[in-house]
Symmetry: C2
Subunit: 467 residues, 2 copies
């Protein structure tokens, strides 16, 4: 019985060159495609054969099907007219990093399973510290350090598990209470649920007029909980909320955490990238007092998903929470304790060589290029904010601190939903909504790799048409 | 402030073609490289600049550094002489799937964020059901279905969380007990810890002479626990253990689970892929009674990491455990309940378009090609097993059921460690060890994409030299 590879190395060269060109063509044309996919549920599946093929199919048929069957079902996150959620900007060098990682096909679960995979990652986390002006407590040369997670959901979970571990043996699981603002990302609730907390063990703290956590209310909640024999063990502060990039007062929250012995995790998933620009380092306020921190180059820093930076000031509780060492993973380097084994910093065992894409992005751009990138979006957002503020039918509803603008039509919720749907169904732009003060609010998240001023101008014109 | 991309589309075409050729060249030469990286801890980091670059660097410098600084730190998982752990076989079409996924850069967290990403994934899970002869209860058209996780660690965690959710409100967290064989993967312990169970809530059941779980001992453990007011809620059965591809008696274990109301999760991470060959479907025994099941095409089915199939018979408890719906993720399709939103099937929110690579692998190979691939490794393993059995200095220590051969030198643990290190340090092959019956045992996991009979012959010759 022999295996005859259906794609030889030479076939791979040809198909690979074509695929590279396909992607470059796609990026060149993506601006003209309807941003939001127009298919209905089931359309894609019903176009595919019900059963898998018995025999090998020619590559050309497969690629034709990508164009004909798959592309109609794509919502174009890489379109310069994509303003939904937060951006997921995949720059050309990051895509080449992903390609190289796939071609090498190494596992980074242990240092020994490919030392470069671990060491380049550690190095990139330290470089990012320098690029963003992050606190030295997160540098790998101290008791803490950093790693790449797949998402800030996973980063938040690891922070919760580390905090839980730090108090294990001291407090009972059922006594623990976790806190975040009512505007914290849903990953907070999900992470707490996964870690075994019930809804009764999670407090969503009210926010102020700017949608930032009220630190006084946080303290009061903890006092109440302690009076109730409960144990505050974890606080998530958000630097740049999903709904409106509000900034929780991390420094004041750190005071509360210190007084009550709670772990402070700061979620800067989107906004953290802004810190590459020195004048935007307000996003780092208070971080030097955080136990852990996360932000995502896969959102706003030119690196394709997944690439979430997770920093921790003391890795001890995390390793204790996540390390299990069976015989089949034992090796000399680990036994000596002289290396980092990143499997102990995450939920999965296996891991890809994700540091390559970050290395490519940082080196092709330099600090200057990264800074220009972020600044260009902030500038476009300020201009968009001004255009909305000047429009008779719209208003800006929360301060535009970075590159997300939250705004609404003055007509009410139904008008805003109508406008959102009209924009998205037009194919000319895509944006999503949220709720602030119980009102439907539109979000324009500016940050795609190919977004230029003319795309913002077109969005303003479209909003004007629909006003 | 404008952003000037350092890599234009035309630059990307050139660099991309070069990268494709680099990878093809690498695959052509990987056989001649020392399999295990020879660097010492810190070697890679010390070769890198301490600080990130201020300005953009030319692409040619970066690629030169890949060759000079990174490659010495690579342990070559794609080498035909890699026999460690389990294989992580990255075939050419799967690498192109990863590339396309990165180039499209879409998010599959919700159906609406790119319908094709969700629907192709659902379709591939159903195709895999057909290819492997898996039970109909896992088909997407029923109350259950499947998804792609990053690893079986995550699959196991999702199974544990689903099982925990099913009994929530009925039993208290601290009463729950989970069970697996002493040879279950470390992901079992890790998943239980993450879910908030203590060591006192996990039972590792003894195994029989073939290292398979003793179902009678499982039943006894549950009886004891119930007498102790504890609640058996979860059992992990392994189809193909990491140490020796032992098969737990899933059918007998299912009887016990049924009697005590426990969730049955089957971990076929490595061995499950064998089911593409009808004569190897013993690996599926008892699966029709499992609540959930996982196996990894990223191990032995030509698909680059990450691609772990996770099937569940009733998705209700999982969705209930993992769904959190904030306003900013609400959309019409989800609200109508007419679609799958895979964010509710996993820990992270974001997700890549991983189904593309599986689609490419299945279509380029067809059922026939996949079957040939798996059969070729099983045949090579049988031959290797026979060579070891016939050698005066070695013995096979567990039945070679698929493509993993566990064996040892008759001289004792020190000899086996010496031989393992000598092989690995020779650069000519790479294998890892485990412990069975308290003895150090060598593992030859056959399954790399480019492994041919001559590589097995060379391994036998090397073992003979070292005997």
């Amino acid at each position: 019985m022999s295996y005859d590879p259906p794609m030889s190395n030479d076939d791979f060269r040809r198909a690979g060159h074509d695929m590279i060109d396909w992607i470059a063509d796609y990026w060149e044309s993506v601006e003209d495609r309807p941003v939001l996919s127009e298919v209905k549920p089931g359309d894609i599946r019903s176009s595919l054969p019900a059963r898998p093929p018995e025999s090998a199919e020619p590559w050309s048929d497969i690629i034709d099907d990508v164009d004909e069957l798959i592309m109609p079902g794509i919502t174009h996150w890489q379109s310069p007219n994509f303003f939904g959620y937060f951006p997921a900007n995949a720059s050309p060098p990051s895509v080449l990093g992903e390609l190289l990682s796939a071609g090498l096909g190494v596992q980074g679960m242990l240092w020994s399973t490919s030392p470069a995979c671990t060491e380049l990652e550690t190095h990139m986390l330290d470089w990012m510290l320098d690029l963003c002006g992050l606190p030295e407590r997160f540098r790998s040369t101290g008791p803490g350090g950093g790693t790449i997670q797949d998402s800030s959901s996973s980063s938040t979970l690891v922070a919760i598990l580390s905090a839980r571990e730090r108090v294990a043996g001291q407090w009972r699981m059922g006594e623990l209470v976790a806190y975040a603002s009512e505007h914290a990302h849903s990953a907070m609730l999900k992470g707490c649920k996964i870690a075994g907390l019930t809804h009764q063990q999670i407090r969503l703290i009210p926010s102020d007029a700017d949608h930032a956590m009220d630190a006084v209310a946080l303290r009061e909640a903890m006092v109440d909980d302690i009076a109730d024999d409960r144990r505050p063990f974890f606080v998530l502060a958000t630097s740049g909320t999903t709904s409106s990039t509000a900034f929780d007062p991390v420094d004041e929250i750190a005071d509360v955490c210190k007084d009550f012995g709670a772990w402070l995790h700061v979620d800067g998933a989107f906004a953290g990238a802004a810190a590459v620009a020195p004048e935007l380092r307000f996003v780092n306020a208070g971080l030097e007092r955080a136990d852990s921190y996360t932000f995502n180059p896969h959102k706003w820093l030119l690196t394709n998903f997944d690439c979430s930076m997770f920093y921790i000031a003391d890795k001890g509780p995390m390793i204790s929470a996540l390390s299990v060492m069976p015989d089949y993973l034992r090796n000399a380097a680990t036994d000596k304790g002289s290396v980092i084994d990143y499997r102990d910093w995450q939920v999965p065992l296996g891991r890809r060589f994700r540091a390559l894409k970050l290395w490519f992005v940082i080196r092709t751009h330099g600090a200057e290029g990264l800074t220009d990138f972020v600044r260009s979006h902030v500038e476009m957002a300020k201009g968009f904010d001004a255009a909305i503020a000047a429009h008779p039918s719209y208003e800006v509803v929360a301060p535009t601190r970075l590159s997300l603008v939250t705004f609404r039509h003055l007509g009410g919720d139904a008008d805003n939903e109508r406008i959102r749907d009209a924009i998205n169904n037009s194919g000319r732009a895509y944006l999503t909504h949220t709720k602030l003060n119980d009102q439907v609010v539109l979000r324009a998240a500016i940050g795609a790799v190919r977004t230029e001023q003319r795309h913002i101008d077109a969005l303003v014109a479209l909003l004007d048409e629909l006003s």
